[in-house]
């Protein structure tokens, strides 16, 4: 379980998170939604231990996130792989650091995603880079999978492949997936729990199905309503 206790984070004069308390339940797919600048990426970086809270604390299974990196697979929005590596080299690099690397899954996924091991990161398309990042993240059997805008700037076919990969490999009850995105429609069917963030505050959170039934709206409509009120 991931817990935020009164977490605040500022970058210069910009407030990214403002006194946020949250619980990300274990074994679920959690959608972290909100417009740009809502605090989604900061939340994921705090969980990953890439940022430190100014106030409050973040705990992953009761521990400091810095000590839980081996349990987390992280897919950032930006291209973070060494451009001179090819896919095989990037996989070999990742494999060395994580005991939960699943070679069989990697072999299956590389075919499923239509990638080739000799493809050089610097020379492949944006969509292929997105798929490579996904391949390296999902080839691990990590208890936590943190995805920051995995669909951003990706064409519709690649988006579908990414979502299908997630559905295909999700281990319900065992694995926690946190997806930060503003492309809610694409992941609507995927998420169990939702957290809507706005200007560093939690606007709305709960079980996705309960919210849909309770308000008789899709998550996209819910978000529109929530943020229309905010503006």
């Amino acid at each position: 379980m991931i817990e935020f206790k009164d977490v605040s984070k500022k970058f210069g004069s910009t407030i990214a998170l403002n006194d946020v308390s949250l619980v990300f339940p274990r074994g679920k797919i959690i959608g972290l939604f909100g417009p740009n600048g809502a605090g989604k990426s900061t939340s994921i970086k705090l969980i990953m231990g890439l940022n430190r809270p100014d106030r409050g604390e973040v705990r992953v299974d009761g521990e400091n996130p810095q000590n839980k990196k081996q349990d987390m697979a992280y897919l950032p929005e930006i291209d973070h792989l060494y451009p001179w590596m090819n896919i095989a080299q990037a996989a070999d690099f990742t494999r060395t650091f994580y005991a939960d690397w699943d070679e069989t899954k990697y072999r299956e996924l590389i075919k499923f995603l239509n990638l080739q091991e000799n493809m050089k990161i610097a020379k492949i398309s944006k969509g292929q880079r997105a798929k490579t990042k996904l391949l390296l993240t999902v080839s691990r059997r990590a208890p936590y999978l943190l995805m920051d805008e995995p669909l951003s700037g990706i064409d519709i076919l690649t988006r579908e492949e990414i979502i299908n990969t997630l559905i295909r490999d999700y281990r319900e009850g065992e694995q926690t997936i946190i997806i930060s995105t503003h492309e809610i429609a694409e992941v609507e069917s995927l998420v169990d729990e939702v957290i809507f963030l706005d200007k560093g505050k939690v606007k709305l959170s709960g079980n996705a199905e309960d919210l849909r039934v309770e308000r008789n709206m899709s998550l996209v409509e819910l978000m529109k309503e929530a943020f229309r009120d905010a503006n």
């Binding site: 970058f11 950032p76 792989l81 060494y82 060395t96 650091f97």
Partner: protein, 261 residues
């Protein structure tokens, strides 16, 4: 399967070595080209080989220092810092692998240049010339035994290696402090570099002076002991090594506790 810490360290190290490959190749090619050029063109004036040798040696010695800025700075410029910081390894491994790679670059570079110069010297100075030079040095009271040459040379080389590690550690420390601010990162890095260099110099100079005073009686013209000289070099190297360790630990602490994205 759990991977050992050592294997993780060497994976990081081999990644750094791959990043440094172009610089190592530059030194290799520059050595080959210049040595060949001087072998062809300077046969009438063999003494001029000292020029290119010093020039390329300077390049080989300076490049790892310049690369230390590239190696760390590039992680931020190409966003690979996201990958590096998300790995389950501490700053000691990350910075240690970079330091080791840069020292390997120094080792490769200086060995390539030195080997090139020695070969060039043998080719340009005919055999009796070199032997004669050694004989002259011996008659001037200089200990030219192979054992002495090797031990003093090794100590000097070790001192230069530690010196390189020292400036690289300061470079890491200053760059990481520079990364803590979003604006004026470059000027802050430069200021911290100079300030750390100055402060460490202030800390180490009294120790160097003390060691020098101790060795002084054995190192005048009438009573020169090569053993005392070696001891002096060795002690100075140890002092510099201690300084390197202090700065390196400070850099690791900044990486582990202060660096964020």
């Amino acid at each position: 399967m759990q991977t050992s810490s050592l294997k993780k360290f060497f994976k990081l190290y081999s990644k750094e070595m791959r990043e440094l490959r172009p610089e190592i190749l530059v030194v290799l090619i520059a050595t080959l080209v210049l040595d060949l050029l001087f072998y062809i063109k300077a046969r009438q004036f063999p003494a001029v080989i000292i020029g290119p040798s010093i020039m390329i040696l300077g390049l080989a010695a300076l490049l790892p220092f310049i690369s230390s800025f590239k190696l760390l700075g590039r992680e931020w410029n190409s966003n690979t810092i996201y990958l590096l910081l998300s790995l389950p390894v501490k700053g000691g491994n990350v910075l240690g692998s970079k330091l080791l790679a840069l020292l390997t670059q120094y080792l490769f570079g200086t060995i390539i240049v030195t080997a090139g110069s020695i070969i060039l010297a043998f080719l340009l100075f005919p055999e009796p010339g070199l032997v004669e030079t050694l004989r002259q040095a011996q008659s001037a009271g200089i200990d030219t035994r192979l054992q002495t040459i090797i031990s003093s040379g090794t100590l000097f080389y070790l001192m230069s290696l530690v010196g390189m590690a020292y400036v690289i550690a300061i470079s890491f420390f200053s760059q990481l402090l520079g990364k803590l601010v979003t604006r004026f990162s470059g000027p802050i890095t430069a200021i911290v570099f100079i300030a750390t260099f100055w402060l460490m110099g202030k800390l180490m100079t009294p120790l160097w002076q003390q060691v020098g005073n101790y060795a002084q009686p054995h190192m005048n013209q009438s009573n020169f002991s090569i053993a005392a000289f070696n001891q002096l070099v060795g002690m100075n190297t140890l002092i510099m090594l201690a300084g390197t360790v202090i700065v390196f630990i400070a850099a690791v602490l900044v990486y582990n506790h202060k660096i964020e994205l």
